[in-house]
Symmetry: C2
Subunit: 279 residues, 2 copies
């Protein structure tokens, strides 16, 4: 079995891939788009992509690509606590430049501004790439924001630990695939994710769509609006609802009712949520 | 009067600033955070920031900074049609690298992949910075994605025009300030924007909050969820509703009812929407 994931090795996505598929072939791709396309072109059996971070919000590239250019099903979700660290070389020199992926820089913005007000931040394609760059320039007063794995992989010192602004920093990852495999990880729950496109000619369409779940007491854990890319003000909505014994048949009825209202419904997936505890 | 905006000169934000404040002092800042902080520290009378693009969605940095770290009021909105172009030096050599801001690269992703499948894309802090970099390296087979202003400003050739993937590519900008100035630009409408934080102990809270507008026939033009940055699954919601003669008092009642439900309501602004037509 083969799983494609957002690389490079050492990325948070690779940590999840190792936990979920310890003995399978894991292939790193450079971008979320390439991961999803690898799956669409049947180059792999599963694809693993980040979908939401508790501080920075949805990974819009994942949601948009999945909605616009893919028919893949979500067959699992993994949640990973995110620990960001400042990695570099022990030195007396004050840091001049700090490198990382934009999401990691955003997650540590307040810390960096408070502790390194004079250091400039510079965007890199990934946290691993940032760590690798710092490794390659030991003579320069620079550092990278990345995870523990990157410190080990690139033999860097951890100058500061757990520097993320929000203590409860967690990222959700979606697994795309055909088979609903069971993983040997703690299960946190079960969810159904839907993408809804509302009809233009239905006044208060979003309210009516949400009512379908509300009056059935189906818990909605998330609603996200994303542009349809047609014109300003036109959106599709991604809705996550809790699935359990009580809800199962109610969700089917809710979807039928949505269709009757003229709402286009795509079931993105009905999946278990697993917790990955990073060591 | 002084207006702070997201620079550098030649950016889309600077185009709006020039239209709205042709005779006032306009100060470019390097980041959205710095623009909002300049306003908070009373270094300027107005601040202009991008808030949403029709293809790429919300500028989450603007919404988050405004919600979490600022009390500024929105006193106006500007919509600008966005035209992206490929700028460079006329040459026979195939392009090897294309530079731009991540949003501009995202807006032209399909075009670039179709026409320059072998060129790598490289992120820059702004479209103007990308154009400037290309200007400084006339010997290299590189190009920048940027607007017409940048072509003029950095004396580059337009290698391809209007390369954005969505023909109707438009960006909304918010003006923060104290005074509701009238601008000499066509008015497209009037809106009220609210940030809602829902109570934990109210089942179906989002449905109830939206109902407050729906049963009053108040048109909601946008709903956006953003993380509260506390933990995964905790959000605040930004809602835009149409304001007009009929709605005015209904909106006040709706807000009162939200407060009664235990919803924390922040009125981000009640403002006119102006159309800027880029030349």
């Amino acid at each position: 079995m083969k799983v494609a994931y957002l690389g490079p090795r050492g990325s948070f996505c690779s940590v999840v891939a190792e936990y979920a598929f310890p003995t399978d072939k894991r292939c790193a791709y450079d971008s979320i788009i390439e991961v999803i396309e690898a799956y669409e072109q049947a180059c792999c059996d599963f694809a693993l992509i980040p979908i939401e971070n508790s501080t920075e919000g949805s990974v819009t590239m994942s949601i948009d690509k999945l909605f616009h250019d893919s028919k893949a099903d979500v067959v699992g979700e993994f949640t990973l606590p995110i620990s960001q660290n400042l990695l570099g070389h022990a030195s007396e020199q004050p840091l001049e430049l700090i490198y990382s992926h934009p999401q990691a820089l955003a997650q540590t913005r307040n810390y960096l501004r408070a502790h390194y007000p004079y250091a400039q931040v510079q965007v890199m394609p990934s946290t691993s790439a940032a760590a690798e760059f710092v490794q390659q320039h030991p003579e320069r007063p620079i550092a990278a924001v990345a995870n523990y794995q990157a410190a080990e992989m690139f033999d860097l010192e951890i100058l500061a630990e757990n520097i993320q602004d929000s203590a409860q920093n967690t990222t959700r990852f979606w697994l795309l695939g055909k088979d609903k495999q069971r993983f040997d990880l703690p299960v946190q729950g079960q969810k159904v994710s839907l993408a809804l496109t509302l009809p233009h000619n239905l006044p208060g369409a979003l309210h009516k769509a949400i009512s379908v779940f509300a009056w059935r007491d189906i818990d909605m854990t998330k609603i996200e609006s994303r542009p349809l890319k047609t014109q300003l003000g036109q959106y599709f909505f991604v809705i996550d609802v809790v699935n359990n014994k009580e809800n199962r048949s109610k969700i089917s009825f809710a979807i039928e009712e949505l269709v009757t209202l003229g709402v286009q419904v795509r079931v993105l997936g009905d999946y278990l949520v697993y917790a990955v505890d990073e060591v």
